[in-house]
């Protein structure tokens, strides 16, 4: 028991968490924008899965991870534009379009896997070039931090930068102010002269680009393969992080990191002979626990009359 406890807080787990967190953090930071602009998107999984596939393909064809990720982001934005046209322009229900896209992403990627690479299930090739690891010189001297933070692939550091940047954009710029205004009260924002449609579209494109980048990291972080349904629910973890974080990029990233940490436990705890299926459950159980805790906190705050409370009340049409 003590061994397990020690393993749970070991630097190895945190190092794993930092690595796993990159796609989750980047994806959910993007989601903050759509959340704040009041667009209901569920399709994180779709954007991430599609871009994971195209990142693999791009990296395989061009031999460069960065180009692969770029292609993935482009494709993700294209799918996002499809979502936007259907939901903003044609008034389709966001939840149904999201579910159809998630369903479609699985079919499209699996089909493309067969028709482009002629394989079923998974495509493994040394020609899929992953991101380079970056070593930061001054971290070499610091014992624990070196293990946890140093020698990771570039996007891991990008995740931290993006979180900060998103926070600044959201809370310190006129753009962020208007974006939040659109989400809070669209009519008021329009009366004040804000072009609602433009802000909603911008938020959606940012979200798709981020999810695309997040999805691209998954196959390009050293595994050199793409498997059917590779994202396996990471998109839903992003969604949960955004909902718990309420669209605040920093809070959301922390929650996303927490989920990544629980996911990283899997690798450590399997060595103790625990059943893999139960260990794979941990992140999803963690989501439910975090939701409960955040609700309890919100309720206490409300009882004290301190915070302004705003919780989504979305009911299907």
């Amino acid at each position: 028991m003590q061994e397990i406890l020690l393993a749970v807080i070991s630097p190895v787990v945190f190092a794993g968490a930092v690595r796993i967190a990159a796609p989750l953090v980047i994806g959910s930071v993007g989601g903050c924008f759509t959340e704040k602009s009041g667009t209901f998107v569920l399709a994180y999984e779709c954007f991430m899965l599609i871009s994971a596939f195209f990142a693999t393909w791009g990296s395989y064809v061009t031999g460069s991870a960065v180009l692969g990720a770029l292609i993935a982001v482009m494709v993700s934005i294209l799918v996002g534009i499809l979502f936007g046209i259907l939901v903003f322009r044609f008034q389709a229900n966001g939840m149904i379009v999201s579910i159809a896209l998630i369903y479609g992403a699985w079919a499209v990627t699996t089909l493309l896997l067969v028709s482009i690479f002629q394989v079923r299930g998974s495509f493994i090739s040394p020609d899929i070039i992953s991101f380079q690891t970056i070593s930061i010189p001054f971290l070499n001297q610091v014992p624990v931090l070196n293990d946890v933070l140093n020698n990771k692939i570039g996007p891991v550091y990008l995740a931290f930068l993006l979180t900060g940047a998103a926070y600044v954009v959201m809370y310190k710029t006129p753009f962020g102010l208007r974006l939040r205004g659109v989400g809070m009260n669209a009519t008021a924002a329009q009366t004040a002269g804000t072009n609602i449609r433009r802000y909603k579209w911008t938020a959606l494109i940012i979200m798709c680009a981020c999810c695309g980048l997040g999805g691209a990291i998954i196959p390009l972080s050293g595994v050199s393969m793409f498997t059917e349904n590779m994202t396996s629910g990471r998109g839903f973890l992003c969604l949960a992080a955004v909902l718990v974080g309420g669209g605040n990029p920093i809070k959301t990233s922390i929650v996303a990191f927490l989920f990544a940490y629980t996911d990283a436990l899997y690798l450590t705890l399997t060595s103790f002979g625990l059943p893999t299926q139960l260990l794979s459950c941990i992140p999803y159980v963690a989501v439910i626990f975090v939701l409960i805790v955040s609700k309890l906190r919100a309720r206490r705050k409300a009882a004290l009359g301190a915070g302004r409370l705003k919780w989504r009340k979305k009911v299907t049409a």
Partner: protein
């Protein structure tokens, strides 16, 4: 008289929706098939042949219609009352596992055994739906996200139970090997059409659809449940206990999903295998939405879905196309059917009028 007109108006807009979606899908589907180097006409005719070509093919269509009807009804029951139960898949898994276990572990007289299995599967689905429902009622945790998480947990947990409790830890991690012993013959549903995989299950599913239709159409309780979804403030003022209703709906939806899992087991699979289905729950949600939660329309759309599924298998055998092409066509159909054509037409008409006035 006026009421009749209104219904006609709604039916008309629905008809426009379906026709437009079907037309668009046929066009895009044809392009999709042509891009893969096949003749679209041949592919479509193989799909139709595979779905209705012979008695056995019709049986296969019916077999694939069953889960669509039940999951869609389960989704519709929830959505009608504004409950976002996206956890159908998890409830199906637990229903299926329960039916499979009761099917092989007990010896009961033939008729009774099936009924026990199916009822227990429904109850298992219901109990699994109870978790997110209680989380919502006690902690106000949004069921939209919690049910999604419970889906993943259910898939893993049923695999765990099968592997460690039933198989005693034997069996590799490859999910094909993880399965329960076969169910007893007394626990299987009788077949419907000789030589095909259709079972009595599709009749049961149809009965459930009819029951749900009658319930919402003719009972006061059904009207109340609908009110909770359509106008919760009115429902409160009218004196409907909203919390209890919410729980009831969630459990009903879970029961139907669990039943679907049970029928899948005793009707077709015969033993529970880890990860035996993918996306069945999503199918139900999409169908429920396309059919606007109307049980009769659900049966029709489910039949279409089942035909496409059965036809896709034949298409894959006879052409070089992958059956996933049909999944993509289904997705496109949903996307096109989700468009609010009436609003679009109104918008365009207004624009036209405005531009004429300006000109």
């Amino acid at each position: 008289m006026r009421k009749k007109l209104e219904i006609n108006e709604e039916a008309k807009s629905n008809l426009i929706r379906y026709a437009a979606a079907l037309l668009a899908v046929l066009l895009i589907g044809a392009v999709l098939i042509a891009v893969q180097g096949e003749n679209p006409g041949k592919a479509f005719s193989e799909i139709i042949k595979g779905a209705f070509g012979s008695k056995i093919n019709i049986g296969n269509t019916l077999r694939h219609t069953m889960p669509c009807i039940l999951t869609a009804i389960a989704a519709a029951v929830a959505f009608k009352s504004g409950v976002n139960n996206l956890g159908l898949e998890g409830q199906i898994y637990f229903g299926a596992l329960t039916a499979a276990v009761l099917g092989y572990a007990f010896k009961l007289p033939p008729g009774v055994h099936v009924i026990v299995c199916l009822l227990a599967s429904g109850v298992a689905g219901m109990l699994y739906a109870l978790l997110p429902a209680m989380l919502k009622l006690v902690f106000q945790v949004d069921e939209l996200i919690s049910t999604l998480m419970f889906n993943f947990i259910a898939v893993l947990l049923t695999e765990y139970i099968t592997m460690w409790w039933i198989m005693g830890g034997r069996g590799s991690d490859g999910s094909n090997a993880i399965s329960t012993p076969p169910m007893a013959a007394s626990a299987r549903l009788p077949g419907l059409i000789q030589g095909s995989s259709a079972s009595l299950g599709v009749v049961l599913a149809f009965l459930v659809a009819v029951l749900v239709y009658l319930f919402y159409r003719y009972t006061v309780k059904g009207y109340e449940l609908k009110q909770v979804g359509e106008n919760i403030r009115f429902a409160r003022a009218y004196g409907i206990p909203v919390a209890r209703t919410f729980l009831g709906i969630f459990l009903m939806s879970g029961f139907i999903s669990g039943l679907c899992g049970g029928i899948e087991m005793s009707g077709s699979y015969g033993s529970f295998t880890a990860k035996f289905i993918t996306n069945m729950g999503w199918d139900g949600i999409l169908i429920a939405y396309i059919a606007k939660q109307n049980p009769i329309a659900i049966v029709v759309v489910s039949f279409l879905w089942g035909a496409l599924r059965a036809g896709s298998l034949q298409m894959e055998r006879m052409t070089s196309l992958n059956k996933l092409t049909v999944n993509i066509i289904q997705m496109l159909f949903v996307l096109f059917a989700a468009i609010d054509y009436k609003a679009l037409l109104d918008h365009m008409r207004q624009k036209h009028i405005r531009s004429r006035e300006a000109g």
